[in-house]
């Protein structure tokens, strides 16, 4: 019993530590974030070496309720912690939106092991659909959002189909080509604003309460971003739950099987077509949702928000955080969004920085900050000692 309590306290402390790390990096300057990232790399490498990291993951896995309550409280109290600073709230909102897209992208990169270079297309289709419907046709933003998710899913099929035929470099080329076509078409079609984009997208309303109004609590005037922060993080939380469950479900295993060897996977009765399309469609649905949130948050979208460099940033999030690992992807999304937003002061060096950071992380930790973990099915105790698990992991890694 005492050990159980001890576990709980440890898990809570770890969760608090993570929250504080997020808070500090949010508040501080770019240099501090970079130092934090460097320390994180060292710490994680150390934990990996000693096997601590597995224990931490087990601990967190056992106390999900407790840790998610802590994370939830952190998000709820964040606006007060930052004293209603709209800049910082904006960063967190964008991080949440990017996180949703990255979780969806992870179904392709982490799941079936194919790099899709066009996640920004899904993201853009979601945003453009709802923007078009709500601005040009006056449809309610909520309905527009649903339409956006549906259309993005459909786009998932369109981009997923070539993926059935092509893998590796060929898929990379196909998705880059489709990404380029998407951007060019947006620019060329006046109905979606052409190069001008779509301004004046209406904001969400809940029972007549516009999410774009300021909030007054405890005598503190908070900017309207607070509403969006909560909305985005509710969706983000749902996405996290959905993604984790998916990866633990039979679909997740099927994805990994396809990643390892499609032919063998097919001989095990996995329908390659449907399982690969599923990963693209689900990823697209996540991205479509995020796109709609983004459109109704900023009130303006244009092709620049959904071009190839945006796709590349999204891929970086997944790879740097750790593909096929939900906490890893979230870490990647949070860290990179913060770095990206704080890089605004050094706009000249922004892309150079991205390139260098990506190369360095690939060289130092090719599997990301928080790499993929060995699957643990349910709560079953496999009777494996830690050493065995490590050996198994080692053997698996050699493949």
């Amino acid at each position: 019993m005492a050990a159980r309590l001890n576990d709980k306290i440890t898990a809570a402390l770890v969760a608090l530590g993570i929250c504080l790390l997020v808070y500090i990096s949010l508040m501080s300057s770019l240099l501090v974030i970079l130092i934090i990232v460097a320390l994180l790399v060292v710490l994680l490498t150390y934990c990996e070496k000693t096997g601590l990291i597995d224990t931490v993951f087990q601990l967190m896995g056992k106390n999900t309720t407790l840790t998610s309550v802590i994370f939830g409280l952190f998000i709820i109290s964040l606006p007060f912690l930052v004293k209603g600073n709209n800049d910082l709230l904006h960063i967190m909102i964008i991080a949440g939106i990017m996180g949703i897209v990255a979780l969806g992208l992870n179904f392709q990169i982490g799941g079936i092991g194919q790099i899709n270079f066009a996640p920004a297309v899904f993201y853009g289709v979601g945003a453009y659909t709802t923007a078009y419907l709500s601005v040009r046709l006056g449809v309610s933003p909520w309905l527009g959002t649903i339409a956006g998710v549906c259309l993005a899913t459909l786009t998932g099929v369109i981009i997923g189909l070539p993926a059935l035929k092509a893998r590796g470099y060929y898929l990379a080329l196909v998705t880059i080509a489709l990404q380029t076509i998407f951007t060019l078409m947006i620019i060329n079609i006046p109905a979606v604003g052409g190069p001008n984009g779509i301004p004046g997208i209406p904001y969400y309303q809940i029972f007549g309460y516009s999410l774009h109004s300021r909030v007054e609590v405890f005598g503190l005037t908070l900017p309207y971003q607070v509403n969006y922060l909560y909305l985005v993080y509710i969706v983000f939380a749902l996405a996290i739950v959905a993604a984790s469950r998916l990866f633990k479900s039979r679909y997740g295993i099927a994805w990994n099987a396809v990643d390892q060897d499609p032919v063998v996977a097919a001989t095990q009765g996995i329908n390659l077509t449907s399982i690969q399309l599923l990963s693209f469609c689900l990823g697209a649905a996540f991205a479509g949702m995020a796109g709609a949130l983004y459109a109704h948050y900023t009130g303006f979208i244009s092709n620049e928000n959904f071009d190839f460099s945006q796709s590349l940033i999204l891929i970086c999030m997944v790879i740097l955080g750790g593909s096929d690992n939900v906490p890893g992807v979230i870490t990647g999304a949070l860290l990179l969004t913060m770095i990206d937003q704080k890089l605004a002061d050094y706009a000249n060096y922004r892309l150079l920085m991205y390139g260098l950071v990506l190369i360095i992380i690939l060289l130092v930790r090719s599997k990301g900050l928080l790499p993929k973990r060995i699957r643990i099915y349910g709560e079953r105790d496999t009777g494996m000692s830690n050493g065995d698990a490590k050996l198994a992991a080692g053997a698996g890694g050699k493949r």
Partner: protein
Amino acid sequence: MTNFLKKRSILILACVVVSLSLMSSFLLAGCSSKQSASAKTVKVAFIGPLTGPDASEVVGPKNCFDLAISQANASGKLPYQIQSVYYDDASNAGTAANDAQKIVSDPDIIAVTGFFNSAPCAAAIPIFKNAGIPLVIWGAISKDLTQAANMPYITRVVPTTFQEIQPMATMVTQTMGYKKWAVITSTSTYGQDTLAGFKAGIQGVPGVNIVSVDSIADGTTDFRPVVTKLKSEDIDAVFFGDNLTEAALAVRQMQELGITNVLLTGTSALTDPAYIKAAGTACEGMIVSQSGEDPTLLPNGQAFVAAYNAKYPQGSYGSYGEYAYDSTNIIIAALDGLGANPNPKDLATKIAAINYNGLLGTTTFDANGQTTDKLTTIMVVQDGQFISWDNSQYKTGVRKLPPV
């Protein structure tokens, strides 16, 4: 046993992380709490691409903005000191929209002046309009930015592309009689806008028609397929709505492929010595229109230039500096008389109705919020230099333009 030890070490590690983080967060909080308490402030925001590809164009306007604010603060006309704040849109519409959101959620900001590019401006306008913050545009020239629906919040002191192109279009079609036109333009906002402006400019002139329109993505270097096509189309003149580099390449490739007997025309984007350097002899006799005039020739210009040079000895005020200066001064003039606690809505109404006599002459805004003061100059390339049409040898007939 080892498991227990591991858990212990995690506990210790977590404690260390948490305590370290707590300490540093208190430190941070201590730092940030210093600057909170102060009296009622009035801020005016400047927004433009302070970084990115157009950054060099905005140095001048930003200095002019500062100059106007400091002159106003020094004069003591207003019962408070105006604070200036800067936002960077990096020529990116998404960034501009975010900036606009930040501006409207700062209750101290009472007015905004800004925008060099049209797309970021278009992105931000609905946000300012909805929040009721007045925006005076000094640089973005797309026609649709100012419209009756946006009044009284959105006004503009710089002529639009339409106003800029109109006199030249009338001159070359009506007066000179060039009939068959081809348009080479860009898929960008600017390119599409100039295309619309040119179409509007030649509308109603009998017998004039546009044979072909080619919108080409920015960054294209090979215009030969398009130029080859023009060669077979027997045209009198070409209008370029592109940016400088693309237009220079297209002009050069036209010369290379032997299309030399057509009139070339373009927009103010080309009135830069770099264009002539890039286009070489191919652009000789090209006619372009430009908004505005040399500030030193304007009535109040000498004082402005003197004040600017005194404050910023190095660096010029750029091609839009005078507009930024006047737009800031219009905001300041409108603030005068609104009391110690001005309200953005009242300010907007006052700006829209203003009759301001400044650097650019007398500025009033029409029903769309567009300035009625439209200065444009038509220029022609003569011996590798831009020369005002009225002073050129082409007007006097010493040199000949391509035949109609």
